[in-house]
């Protein structure tokens, strides 16, 4: 039997690509996002002295360090290095908190901050080092009591991860 069309290239077209209802992730321009400023966060952490009589001051600086490190999350960027660096910084700040101060740190964040903190906590769980998981578990507990289950749902349903 002869073919009823001259060429059969149309058979190789992937029709699903051109479906109007096909879901496409929004691609925002993320190249300008650099993540939290490393120098700023480092200087804030280094102001935490090891001697005990300056506890008031160092408590204040850790809070600021937490705020600073959650300030410019590299959510839209595709550069994996930026994301890794941001994650490392956040982990550094979270580990330098004392166990009793974690709750205060969480209280000082607003709703978006708690969501962002949860995202970083889950990101940190993916690469456990010696003590990081224990610290992250404590932070998770406190962030959960502040943000509730909804906080976790927002992490799960976020299209762009930190």
């Amino acid at each position: 039997m002869s073919k009823n069309t001259v060429s059969d290239r149309f058979r190789k077209v992937d029709v699903d690509e051109y479906d109007e209802n096909k879901f496409v992730d929004e691609e925002d321009g993320g190249e300008n996002q650099l993540g939290p400023d490393e120098a700023e966060v480092d200087s804030l952490i280094r102001q935490y002295p090891s001697s005990s009589f300056l506890t008031l001051i160092c408590k204040g600086n850790l809070m600021e360090a937490l705020q600073a490190v959650l300030k410019n999350p590299p959510i839209n960027t595709k550069n994996q290095n930026v994301k890794d660096r941001a994650e490392g910084l956040v982990l550094k700040v979270l580990s330098s908190f004392k166990a009793s101060d974690i709750e205060k740190g969480v209280q000082s964040l607003d709703k978006n901050g708690v969501d962002l903190l949860m995202k970083y906590i889950y990101k940190g769980f993916e690469r456990p080092s010696e003590n990081s998981s224990a610290i992250l578990l404590q932070w998770h507990e406190k962030a959960l009591s502040a943000g509730g289950v909804g906080c976790i749902v927002r992490v799960l349903t976020a299209r762009k991860t930190v």
């Binding site: 879901f23 992730d25 889950y122 769980f125 993916e126 456990p128 080092s129 998981s133 224990a134 578990l137 404590q138 998770h140 507990e141 959960l144 289950v149 976790i152 749902v153 992490v155 799960l156 349903t157 976020a158 991860t161």
Partner: protein, 195 residues
């Protein structure tokens, strides 16, 4: 390992909605008194429980690809908009739980602590025993996900028929699975209920 029938029947951990709460009480007692509690165990279990509670919001969703089919989207992974972010909760580098969610199904994979060779072998045998009987467990997956020891697949049909909090508890049985705690719990079960 010799296991008496009654202890295994206690360990059947699917709960139908119309069954009494006595069975449910047994499973939770099973979980909440491990002999050795390290400092990270409780926060770890709480974190997993909370994350599971968040992920176990499932609704019926027919397949978009094939007519009149209903597939667990977390296994098929055909459409990106139906999948949630996979999330890991780790207690240390050996023990972790991976929770992958989607609109109508959740896949929970658990990596259990295996300290030495004998524990590795026992764990492997125990998991194989369970997974071969996956049909009776309903939510168990026959093969674990790569890198983990056991996996569960919970679909919206399971959450419609079974209590959500009991589904959550049943996967938690495996999380504190070390040889001592397992044998001690088994001994307690066998002792209290006889053969």
């Amino acid at each position: 390992m010799s296991m008496c029938n009654s202890s295994w029947s206690q360990m059947v951990f699917y709960e139908k909605a119309h069954e009494g709460s006595r069975r449910g009480a047994d499973t939770s007692a099973f979980l909440q008194s491990p002999q050795k509690m390290t400092a990270t165990l409780r926060p770890y279990l709480n974190a997993v429980r909370a994350t599971l509670q968040a992920a176990l919001c499932l609704e019926n969703f027919s397949s978009q690809v094939v007519e009149r089919h209903n597939k667990p989207e977390v296994e098929v992974r055909s459409s990106k908009e139906l999948l949630l972010q996979p999330v890991v909760i780790s207690r240390n580098d050996k023990e972790k739980v991976l929770i992958e969610g989607s609109i109508n199904s959740v896949r929970v994979s658990i990596a259990v602590k295996q300290a030495d060779e004998i524990e590795k072998i026992l764990c492997h045998k125990f998991m194989r025993f369970m997974m071969m009987r996956a049909e009776n467990f309903f939510i168990l997956r026959r093969k674990p996900v790569e890198g983990y020891d056991i996996s569960f697949l919970i679909t919206n049909f399971h959450t419609e028929q079974m209590y959500k909090h009991k589904l959550r508890n049943s996967s938690k049985i495996f999380e504190d699975l070390s040889l001592e705690s397992f044998c001690s719990r088994l001994g307690r079960r066998c002792g209290s209920h006889g053969k």
